[in-house]
């Protein structure tokens, strides 16, 4: 039931935007009662919206994990992740529309939820780091945490880097992200 409501809420938000999506809209879209919405999300509309954002961010990172499955070696994984993430953000129609029309509602929700994903991304990176030769004195957990932070930081705010350019992504990964962590060569 929870998944059904989240999917329904997402469809409503895509159609009406964040501000105009009501519990009634979501219930109707899901073919369920208002009461069942409040039973599943006792915090009401605010909680529902937070959960939809969290769910969509989870979908994004699951897709990202899938996209690097073919990469060999941690450097390739991080490069593939940045290239894919940058493209995925640009091509996410609902995200781009909301960034344009309701940034003051969307960005707070995304920022808070995304910061919760840093440990998960670090956990994803750790096994890859275990297979690499790390520079002396580097702690694997600290390194995984650092990489997770850097990747998250670049995804939505590339700064001076053109993340559509594989050569730039490679330079970014080899210098700022991995130079301190992985033995060269």
């Amino acid at each position: 039931m929870r998944e059904r409501l989240l999917a329904a809420a997402y469809d409503c938000i895509a159609r009406y935007g964040l501000a105009k999506t009501t519990v009634e809209d979501v219930a109707r879209e899901a073919g369920l009662s208002r009461a069942s919405v409040y039973r599943t999300f006792p915090g009401g509309r605010d909680e529902l919206i937070r959960e939809v954002v969290s769910w969509q961010i989870g979908v994004f990172f699951a897709d990202l994990a899938h996209s690097v499955a073919a990469a060999e070696g941690f450097e390739d994984v991080v490069e593939a992740a940045l290239l894919h993430a940058h493209r995925a953000v640009g091509e996410h129609a609902v995200l781009q529309k909301l960034l344009l029309t309701e940034p003051e509602r969307l960005v707070p929700a995304i920022s808070v939820e995304t910061s919760r994903f840093v440990p998960l991304i670090a956990a994803f990176a750790e096994p890859y780091l275990a297979a690499e030769r790390l520079r002396p004195g580097i702690d694997r957990r600290e390194a995984a945490d650092y990489v997770a932070r850097m990747v998250v930081s670049h995804i939505a705010s590339p700064g001076r880097w053109d993340l559509a350019d594989p050569a730039q992504v490679q330079a970014l990964v080899r210098t700022e992200i991995l130079a301190g962590i992985v033995e060269p060569g």
């Binding site: 003051e104 960005v107 808070v112 910061s115 580097i138 932070r149 700064g159 001076r160 700022e176 301190g180």
Partner: protein, 199 residues
Amino acid sequence: MPASTAVDRGPDLDERIVDAALACFSRWGVAKTTLDDIAREAGCSRASVYRQFPGGKDVVLDAVAGRELRRFFDGLRAVLDAAPATLEDLLVAGITCASRALRDHGALQYLLLHEPEVVLPLVAFDRLDHVLDHAAAFCAPYLEPHVGEEWAPRAGEWITRMVLSYSLVPATFDLTDEADARRFVRSFVAPGLTASRTH
């Protein structure tokens, strides 16, 4: 009450209102702070607050953010101007100063804890790009002698990303601690700055 008293005018009225707003935000956060609260704290009338900051609380919040950012960079400049000559010492001095300024900022810490949705958007998406651009321009002159003109702004952007991330999201490294900051610089930063010269 007289239409205009001494406390409702004066060259430092803006400053008093910004100070007052900061005090209120540190105590109650942004959502729960009213213009009346700010006016009372500043010792002026609500009308004065509106007159000085037409548009109300959002405009006051912008002014507070602007002033605190200025103070932040002034403090950082003082530390960097006095820092020793080696790249590592410069980075450690800058990173610890910046991290401590963020840690010791009462209003910021209150908001991070109770109203993260007010603060985090200021350093997300386009806004983060904007912050990085400004910080990169600030850091570049200090980094240039060490990494060259072309890489200095990129290095400044990179360091800013790290300080923000480790200060705003609970972390394994405590960048306010000099020993931790030095270990961080030696582990993750210095090798990258060396590698950047060959790319």
